[in-house]
Symmetry: C2
Subunit: 277 residues, 2 copies
């Protein structure tokens, strides 16, 4: 595998949700002091804040604002909910613009009250309706395939194949794909689909964490890189062979790690990033 060791932190981005106990101001200060260069902002971290000034604060800490998480949840059986989702995604575009990032990650949604096919049609329609505003604001939209264990309520797009197909159907430089190892590591088509993603200039983001054995919670038991079975270096070699040299984003939801002293957790993240990614 052709991966260069990650000896410095120039490509390290951390999601605000990874250190959820910290406010965005605490996260910015601590990430920056540790040499982290990128931050992805979850919308809840912006609650009650002036978004533009928060973006300036992040840049004053020498942090690139890699993306806004998350838009999506387009799939609803009830038309009123679909319209509300489109409105909310347009707000997310405004927020991303204010914040000064050029990327929104989409957790596309699924409604267990209807078929996955119907959910996928609604997702594609929803993205197409948000796309003109995103384009005018210079904001890219990344379709994130989610692990099949989230096919009931979180996303009807469960493989990179499906995400690539939808991004290509939308046929815009403003739509692409986010590759999160937690969701796709098991996929036998992964290498080929990452190649396809790169060929079409659709590889917008790369998220890392690990899969623990056992996993005790479907949502909030992700592992730190190196403590699970995901072949991180191999998947990084795939995305880099496909032309991706952007930030490597640490996105860990973990009841266990959120209980830790977050400064200790940040040290563990940095060490794991250098050793296992």
């Amino acid at each position: 595998m052709n991966t260069v060791p990650l000896n410095d932190l120039t490509r390290l981005c951390i999601h605000t949700i990874t250190t959820k106990p910290w406010s965005i101001e605490e996260a910015a200060k601590n990430f920056s002091a540790s040499g982290v260069k990128g931050i992805t902002v979850w919308r809840d971290a912006l609650s009650g804040r002036n978004i533009k000034r928060t973006g300036e604060m992040l840049r004053q800490h020498n942090l690139s604002v890699v993306s806004l998480c998350r838009g999506g949840f387009f799939a609803w059986r009830e038309p009123a909910k679909r319209q509300a989702a489109i409105d909310d995604n347009r707000r997310a575009v405004d927020e991303a613009f204010e914040l000064g990032t050029n990327l929104i990650v989409l957790v596309c949604g699924a409604d267990p009250a209807q078929s996955l096919e119907d959910s996928r049609k609604q997702i594609q329609e929803g993205i197409s309706l948000v796309l003109p505003l995103a384009e005018s604001a210079g904001i890219k939209l990344a379709i994130e395939p989610l692990h099949p264990m989230y096919a009931d309520t979180r996303s009807a797009i469960n493989t990179l194949t499906q995400a690539n197909t939808m991004a290509e159907a939308l046929n815009s430089p403003w739509t692409g794909v986010a590759v999160d190892v937690y969701h796709v590591w098991w996929d036998p088509d992964l290498e080929n689909e990452i190649k396809r993603c790169g060929r079409n200039n659709n590889l917008f983001a790369f998220h890392v964490s690990d899969w623990k054995s056992p996993t005790l919670d479907l949502l909030n038991d992700r592992g730190l890189m190196g403590e699970g079975c995901i072949p991180l270096k191999m998947i990084r070699s795939f995305v880099e062979a496909a032309g991706f040299q952007g930030f490597i984003e640490v996105e860990i939801f973990s009841n266990e790690y959120w209980k830790l002293d977050q400064s200790e957790f940040l040290k563990k993240i940095i060490s794991a990033f250098k050793t296992y990614v």
Copy 2:
């Protein structure tokens, strides 16, 4: 969809693990009294019993012994563990023969200490080494693709595509596939792969349950048919269009249902079978 309503119980099979609080003798008595016609036996239910006489007991209750669950767990980084697995699967063939069933379901295994590709090679090799004994005993082996959330430790075969490919590579009338809706419902290739499975005479078993939202436990929170989002009638129409007319097996692992009075649970199963499958 071309499914005939299941107005009687001639195709209903229940796994012993579904009503885990019952001994196999209690299960046999209660299933039989309720008109259930098939039983799939988990190996733990045979513990401490004479297997041949247990099989006779089941048939005296007019129960077809649909399959023995489960063989498999072939994938191990350590060669000694692989050999132990092969030995254990040969014992399972003997047990199936004694019990008087002609089918073993394989949960093929995965070892998080190695790649999924290596695990799959070991699975195929393991099955091929057990196959001569299975053939001589008249026992079929069904490869069950497991949901990708079990790719770490339970199975490196996570799609019906992979199961079909391996069954075809083994190229024997004694190897085929078990389709369990819980594992495959999310798969965009499901209909085509069920067709492929049928075309090759590899559709050996059909298991039902449901996917609850939320799912609180990765292993033991399966739903009763009708209480989740799995399109059961649609998937039954796929397997029947592919030529399958065998038993429909209810396999539910549920901490919640195991706490119920099992006679009440059995009534719920029968009602759900007629209404939602």
